[in-house]
Amino acid sequence: MNVPYSWLREFLPDLPEPEAVREVLDALGLAVEEVHRLPAPPKGVVFGRALKAEEIPGTELKKLEVDVGREVVTLVSGAQGARADIGLAVARPGVVLPEGTEVAAREIRGVTSEGMALSPAELGVGEYAGGLLELPADALEPGRELAEVWPEEVVFELELTPNRADAFSVLGVARDLAAKLELELVEPAIEVEESPVARFVTVEVADPEGCDRYLARYAGGLEIGPSPLEAQRKLLAAGLRPINNVVDATNYTLWELGGPLHAFDLEEVKEGIVVRRAKAGEKIVTLDGEERRLTPDDLVIARRTAGGTEPVAVAGVMGAANSEVTERTREVVLEAAHFDPVRVRLTARRLGLSTDSSYRFERGVDPNLPPRAASRFLHLLQRWTGCTVGDVVVDVGGEKPRREVPYRPSYANRLLGTAFDAGSQLAALARLGCEVAGQGEPYTVRPPTWRVDLNIEEDLVEEVGRILGYEHVPTEPLALIPAPDNLNAEEPYRREEDLRRAMRGLGGWEVINYTWQSPAYLSLTRAPEPRRFLKNPMDSSKNALRTALYPGLLENLAVNREEPHRFFFELGHVFLDVEETRLAAVLGGPLLEAAWQPAYGEGYPAVKGVLEALAARAGARVEVRPQPHQPLHPGVSGTVFWNDEPRGFIGRLHPEVEEALELGPVHLFELVLPLPEAERTFRDLPKFPPARRDLAVVVPEGVPHAEILDLVRRFGGPYLESVELFDVYRGRPLAEGQKSLAYHLTFRHPERTLTDAEVDGEMGRIVTAVLEAGYKIRE
């Protein structure tokens, strides 16, 4: 919302300087996004009156004879609106335009153009560059410096929050400033001279839920033409494009009061107006030239015809070409109505058509504004054109009463932590237009109908805070003792932090990857099929929610191809049938390296070491049982058992994936959180010496260490303290396809020293078990 300073000042004669206003606007919650300074038209640009216009044959150009005071000059213009009997902004040769070009005489098609007729954008006074600044022919004396009557302007670009529908207007902003700064507010003039009219329209509202107020007024004796200079200046400063006096007067009123209006050519709607639901499939060509199909959820303004009714506007959104104001229009019907916000919003969304009108209706327009907005429009139009204003007022639906909200100043202080006295609180509300009644708490506050956002006591507390100022809110410490059920609420997060810290301590770099992936990439990396898809992805190929973390980590390996250390981990969410939190790590090279030294810690043992260290830190038992997993090399793949529960997988990436991604050997694990915790009880320190024995078992290549470990533990008796693998041997004298696994076994009794005989007995049972399992003992 662009608010020109000079427009505000019309309502607030005592308004401080723009810099000060900017700060107050921010403090009011009408956030100033930017302050634009628009210059006056450049020096040397004068008002010119076009006397004659003729086409230059064979071109789209026109040759204009323009009175610029002391002389009549010839100008060539290609603009559509270039015609006789209008006022123009003329730059003679030598004038420097704001963007730096110097105007020069030019010969075009044999005609010498002694200067330029300028567009608002060329003048620097507005954004519109599609046509000339067109003024009434008698707006000024020809030759008058435009800058003398067109001062520079300061425009506040406000970024308004959707609750402040009332502030989408110059008057709304002025009201807030008046309340905050305690300034006098001069209301916009609305008086008109009315006269009887020969004919007018009837209005039937067939859908009162969609339209609770419909007011129609008459203006006649019109001559359609450019609006006065000052009106155009303000519209341009606000970022609007001047069109003609009638349309400009509707836009002017909209911008000023926040009330959308629409003007129909009376001739086109003279049989009567009906406000009704659209029929399924009904079509309308809106003012932007688009043909649009409507549904019964849409509300339309229709005109009566011989055969029935026909839409002439999409209510609250946009009018139709069939009834618009044209150069031939002499009489208009002005519509000032109030439409249901949700209906307008849904229609605007469905049509993909957001207009200044729909934008305001969906946020909430003062339901009692229509009569006032209509009067303001008629006042402006009469002042600008001297038109007649009809004394008929067709008004369907009536005034809405104000809401009543109970208000306790003491509650405001309890919520804000302030000590505002009741008197100043109530005065602040009154300055905002509220009616305040009552002798004590609770007071009855009736907010003005333009404040559709004030419905409950807390809303009023905010108003008091806004107007009296949050700088009066003190700073206080809060000490509270949480209710008991909150005390361990952060346990899950703490455990995530612990894992992250451990992974970092082991040397991993944490990464954070996007939640979305392409189904093709997930399939390429052998991740689970995606289950959940984005309806509106940013990149249409990446429309799936990730089903594992490691595919993203593989991308991190690829993007960091040149780096020596590629050990990444991520803790994040994946989306299978349920949303899971996971931890994954990938290793794309050795753990330790120096270019001039051999690398240390590569391959599966390295990633397994990371997993084991992670478990050791957490005090957890971790075991890997060989088992194929889709993403992994079938021969280097296992299930991770964390405290005896299967929680994920570990191994080498499937070679097909390694090749497809042009990665070397990649090792990885991925775990589903939270990881189960084991009961931890203290074991007394050993008091008696251990007995150690070694055992080497010869097994076929396919038998995993884990199986032998299980066997040894199962038959090792109560005093077997630990089993540690110390050698894996292949080769002579073992047969081909055999390997020897050698273990240190430690036995210990908690209360005495074990005898050799006892230990031999335990070893005997283990050996028997091994032999019975079909393996051999290597002596």
């Binding site: 919650g29 959707p162 806004r466 509270l480 952060e490 991993g508 954070i512 939640t515």
Partner: protein
């Protein structure tokens, strides 16, 4: 014999050679031992004189042996030290240093600040339902306020949460006041990405609920955070704003000095306010449905939320938010933390 022994000892080059000499002269069958044995046949006078002489020789040999041994040991040590010399200027073995993503670091820092104030950190789902992300937060369907959050919708009707605020209601559904929590996490906005906009980023949400909690307590919490982040002279300003789930709603600004230029300015850090009564009501309604008692009828509370990446960008002068999830080590390693 003495001269001979001393010459040999001087010539000995190793401890082994020295040991051989020692055995040859002083061993059981050594020459000196033999000479002692040969004294048996001498008369007492002669034997005494001879004994004294031999003892002198023995002592002299022992002393020479000892000295020579020390010399040899010193020489060996020198040789060893020379042998073991290394170029200490060579680069070390590259241990993986490990590190946190910078977004995690800022989140950790914020969580830590609020823990010191007694808050607990909790997390929630990223794929949310419309109820928790919008409806329960007083953002009804078809309300223009929904335009404040450009949303990624899922085909199953859920959405990727647009803020961490859904956890306000989720937490209240399961817990009773009073409490103070912060919610770190990923959020999503359906926005075209550029240097300052990302479709995915991180937020920290805060919520304190209890009896008698005021906007002044919110200001106190935010000021403490600002001081912890930006130094003890940091200032905080509240400015009216609108978030449907708080009333009054404010934006909080912190006076921030750019470490690179030394220039100060008010920085919009996030949104905040007093919890809207309809949010308490939504939480109580959900509790009732789940068979839990209504407990949010007589409390007030404040909530706040702030973006994490922006703090990092300002602190380190990171020019483009798109660097964050490129996960290039060249980026990641620039934010070391002990």
């Amino acid at each position: 014999m003495l001269e001979e022994a001393l010459a040999e000892i001087r010539a000995a080059a190793s401890l082994e050679a020295l040991q051989e000499i020692k055995v040859r002269f002083l061993g059981k069958k050594g020459r000196l031992t033999q000479a002692f044995k040969a004294m048996k046949g001498l008369d007492p006078e002669e034997r005494k004189a001879r004994g004294q002489e031999l003892n002198r020789i023995k002592q002299a040999i022992e002393k020479a042996l000892e000295e020579r041994e020390a010399e040899i040991r010193a020489a060996e040590l020198r040789a060893r030290l020379e042998r073991e010399r290394e170029d200490v200027s060579l680069p070390g073995l590259a241990l993986p240093p490990g590190g946190y993503h910078v977004s995690t670091q800022i989140l950790d820092e914020l969580v830590d600040i609020f823990r010191r104030m007694g808050y607990q950190a909790v997390t929630g789902p990223e794929a949310e339902d419309e109820f928790h992300n919008f409806d329960a937060l007083n953002i009804p369907p078809h309300h223009p306020a929904r335009d404040m959050w450009d949303t990624f919708w899922l085909e199953d009707g859920q959405l990727l949460r647009t803020h961490t605020s859904p956890m306000q209601v989720r937490y209240m559904e399961a817990h009773t006041p009073p409490f103070q929590i912060v919610v770190p996490g990923k959020v999503y906005r359906h926005e075209a990405t550029d240097a300052t906009h990302e479709a995915m980023f991180h937020q920290l949400e805060g919520l304190a609920v209890g009896e008698g909690i005021t906007l002044a307590h919110l200001k106190g919490a935010l000021l403490t955070m600002a001081r912890a982040l930006y130094g003890e002279n940091a200032r905080v300003r509240l400015q009216p704003s609108f978030f449907p789930f708080v009333e009054p709603g404010v934006e909080f600004l912190v006076w921030w000095t750019d470490p690179r230029t030394g220039e100060g300015r008010w920085l919009e850090l996030g949104g905040a306010g007093m919890v809207h009564p309809s949010v308490f009501q939504a939480a109580d309604d959900a509790r009732e449905k789940a068979g839990l008692p209504r407990v949010y009828g007589n409390v007030t509370g404040f909530a706040f939320g702030l973006g994490v990446e922006r703090i990092a960008m300002l602190r380190y002068g990171i020019p483009d938010i798109r660097y964050f999830y490129s996960n290039r080590l060249a980026f990641l390693r620039q934010f070391p933390r002990p």
